[in-house]
Assembly symmetry: C2
Homo-oligomer: 378 residues x 2
């Protein structure tokens, strides 16, 4: 009977209205009915991506769309720049390596954002760079890279800018067209309030030109096949029909609030959680450039963050994320994106206070919750 | 208010018990709870595949698992044999071509099965062939290839046998281990009674050795990454959580009946539909080697099969498939796999009779339904 609070940065909770669409009887995907749903969902996605570019849909994890972005725009031996400031930035490098793309790694300290000047210098020193790969919201550290500035810089070169917005889209502002981003990839299970299983990619005109030159092998993740089918409101292969039906509903819900209203809400939730952490005497992993979709809180030196995470789940029912790689045991990550509200932020901070007390940490009980309330009532 | 009868060879209807699992609140995938579900589902899948080999899970259409089978077992320039007897056999060739695999096409007339002796001769003439790609149930023609015989032949060579059982698994008998098949791929939306979005691959010891030698590029569809994660009851990337929860339920339902009981049921349904077609004076596309999961019925020369398909859907609510490529306008395909029963076969034949009458075809009204009843009451 214990209630389960899913407050991890993906998968995020799915609204009941969307869940109910998943229980509807199956329909065929090569029908006018399904084509209308797909079209409606992907047209609605353009408002969330803030783009007029086509939005491609793939049945896969977000990682599938990352791979698609690499194999559809590059050729073996091409040079790229990969911004690595956490686990997901590293993934761009792993995919490039798997396909023989020669990349310049830009390693940034975990918990900080890339300096756009570094990219500007690298691009001028390496005019043969074909693509710059970045992350919007690096979930492993909860840091946002300056995508707008990167767009200004990269758009002046022949390179394309490819951004992983898997955990960012819907929670962290991204303006695909205004910021001149050529390919933005995303996934369904974060800000979009859907179960995992769908991935997306936007494709600019500049990216379409890169697609024409790309010789890396691809089949399932072919942008060309997806673009050709999109024009007929269909997909090359059987899509995850029920998830697409859920997508139409979730996108409708987001757009009826308005994406900017949603973004402002997550910013408020993020500020409240950050204020609570400080009130409890805890440090944030990222004081600067923190994302709005999740917050990484450093646990006190003498307290194992994995223990905190486990007590939060086992005793209190709160699913938060721990740290990955070198951050394992040092941080917990609380999400504020998707179908989440103010009262869940109050609750998770309350549960964190009880957990920290149990582990012997000294602080004024209730000061975290008080900070959340103060921030939210501003 | 019109009722919708989904009788296409994929997606197939999903049982209400499985649909309801899809409406459950989201849970996190890196939890003991989800690992237990995944393990239970994939262990249960072994009974359906009739194998002791590991069953890998991918979030993708079935085509993704086909691509995975190619890129994980071969290297560029490797030689393969591709059996092409329809649209899905051709897909193996397209994937090989996309990845620079040099393949010998074995083109078989649409509506017929491959002669195993042809493969035996080709393998002895080409001892450097690394893999033979076949289809269990070629959905575009509703024909089954002699996989058991192919297994006997291929297992005596250094080549591996790779079988697309996407539309076959659960409806058409396949004995992965007894028939010595190295890789069997499948999808969720056919015999498994699930929405589309999950794909599977079994991997034999011989296939594992091929994986070690394979140098084709891969990332998302890596068998090595999937095998490594499977050992920890997890997946390399966020899986389609809700579909996996549905899979556990569907697999439990199939295994509680017993896979052989299910297969016998579909055989009965197939026989009944074939008998009905004959009673109506219609020809089957495949008189020999017909699959049990679906039946392709040739429409009379002067009747456009697309018109039949459309009237069946628009007027009567029955979703059947038409023909693909050169069979467009010539056949309709009625499925009998997944969550389907005797009474839906009676109903679809009844609707077909009314449609044919409307189109001016001469026959004794009710003779099709009578044939179904006669066959089912045997």
């Amino acid at each position: 009977m214990k209630k389960y609070y899913l407050l991890s940065p993906g998968p995020t909770p799915v609204p009941p209205e969307v869940l109910l669409t998943q229980a509807q009887p199956m329909i065929h995907h090569r029908t006018k009915q399904f084509s209308a749903i797909l079209d409606n969902a992907l047209e609605g996605m353009k408002k969330i991506f803030k783009t007029k570019n086509p939005v491609l849909l793939f049945t896969s994890s977000g990682t599938g769309a990352m791979e698609a972005a690499v194999v559809n725009t590059l050729s073996a031996g091409d040079k790229a720049i990969v911004i690595r400031a956490g686990k997901f930035g590293e993934r761009w490098g792993e995919i490039c390596a798997a396909y023989g793309v020669d990349f310049i790694p830009v390693d940034v300290e975990w918990g900080t954002a890339v300096d756009p000047k570094v990219i500007e210098r690298l691009l001028s020193e390496n005019p043969d760079v074909k693509a710059v790969f970045s992350t919007l919201s690096e979930t492993s550290t909860c840091v946002a890279h300056p995508i707008k500035e990167l767009g200004e810089i990269v758009s002046k070169t022949d390179a394309i800018l490819v951004v992983d917005a898997i955990s960012g889209l819907g929670a962290q502002n991204i303006e695909t067209d205004a910021w001149k981003i050529d390919v933005v990839v995303s996934g369904s299970q974060k800000g979009l309030m859907l179960p995992p299983g769908l991935a997306f990619a936007t494709v600019s005109k500049k990216a379409e030109a890169a697609i024409e030159k790309s010789t890396l092998p691809k089949y399932y993740f072919s942008f060309k096949a997806a673009l050709k089918n999109l024009a007929k409101n269909t997909t090359p292969y059987t899509p995850a029909v029920s998830l697409v039906i859920g997508l139409e509903k979730a996108v409708e819900m987001i757009n009826s609030e308005g994406i900017d209203v949603m973004l402002a809400k997550y910013e408020r939730l993020a500020k409240a959680v950050r204020a609570a952490a400080k009130a409890l005497g805890l440090k944030l992993l990222a004081e600067k450039d923190a994302v709005n979709g999740a917050t990484a809180i450093l646990m006190p030196e003498d307290i194992d963050a994995t223990k905190v995470k486990n007590i939060l789940l086992d005793k209190h029912g709160f699913e938060v994320a721990g740290g990955q790689a070198q951050l394992k045991g040092r941080i917990i990550r609380i999400a504020h994106m998707g179908y989440m509200d103010e009262y869940e932020m109050i609750s998770v901070i309350a549960a964190l206070e009880m957990t920290l007390k149990e582990l012997g940490y000294k602080f004024t009980m209730g000061s975290g919750v008080q900070a959340v309330l103060n921030e939210l009532s501003k």
